[in-house]
Symmetry: C2
Subunit: 168 residues, 2 copies
């Protein structure tokens, strides 16, 4: 599904896509965030073919986003419970949710997010922890981390030489 000719990407966004960047995987996680844990819950919710669902659940478990837990003996039935790594994927789905409502719901939203306690609508925004300043294309920049290869340094130097982001 994902291209794997090259060595593991150094960009963390690309790694994320290599790990869970697949249509069904992300929708399975979306449903898990809504409390679903069982094969049949996912299958009914997604209308997904059982063999594909089996494969994606196995993959997400192998990647450490789900942990299997037995909930019925003889026959043994397992449910798929989000790990901390899986729960931490929530902001990715939230960001997609917000973008979808802003740009793909011209006739009005079908689903919105609300604060669980106050029931007030919640509009997600990405900020920097600490300063709480919004993160925008204009105020952040990529810098090499401790494991940056020579290639990453070269890329970042090339980027600095580029014209700034143009918009229309």
């Amino acid at each position: 599904m994902q291209p794997r000719k090259k060595p593991r990407s150094e960009c963390p966004a690309a790694r994320t896509l290599e790990s869970v960047g697949e249509y069904w995987s992300i929708l399975i996680l979306r449903d898990a965030f809504q409390g679903f844990t069982r094969f049949d819950e996912f299958r009914r919710s997604l209308g997904i073919a059982p063999n594909i669902l089996t494969r994606r659940l196995k993959h997400l478990t192998a990647q450490g986003l789900f942990k299997r837990r037995i909930y019925h003996r003889k026959p043994d039935w397992y449910e798929y419970v989000l790990t901390e790594k899986g729960r931490d994927f929530f902001p990715v789905v939230i960001a997609m949710f917000a973008w979808g409502n802003k740009h793909l719901a011209a006739k009005g939203a079908s689903l919105l997010m609300a604060d669980r306690a106050s029931s007030r609508g919640v509009e997600p925004v990405m900020v920097a922890a600490g300063t709480l300043a919004p993160i925008t294309l204009d105020n952040v920049v990529l810098v090499p981390g401790p494991r940056a290869s020579r290639d990453v340094h070269r890329r970042l130097d090339a980027m600095r030489a580029l014209r700034p982001h143009a918009t229309v």
Copy 2:
């Protein structure tokens, strides 16, 4: 690439995946956020086959995330400039970036984000606009929007009846 048997999904996260939920599309956007606009810049950066790159750029332009702009006459060469809709996709890539660095860089990060002015490291966090309270699995809930179908209402009722999110 994306399943399109069903009518357009009512979930905005699913719609987003239907619109740009594809490995290369998201990496093309990632590179556009770094200032790339030209076919050869994307091709060299991604090591992507030209026919696939052509198809993905065409798709992202048709979806309104890029606008073509001529930058050379005879022959006419176009560059791909992010629209507001395209720029607004930035938080999705940021969220993937942060997750990748947290969970897929056990030996240390190759790339980090920093504030452009202060050069200080930036750790992204998703908060609610207005209150600036972090958005977590435990404090937000889905509610029907103005265009919610009967099916959405049914799903939300079923979710409310579910056990709360379990973790391991």
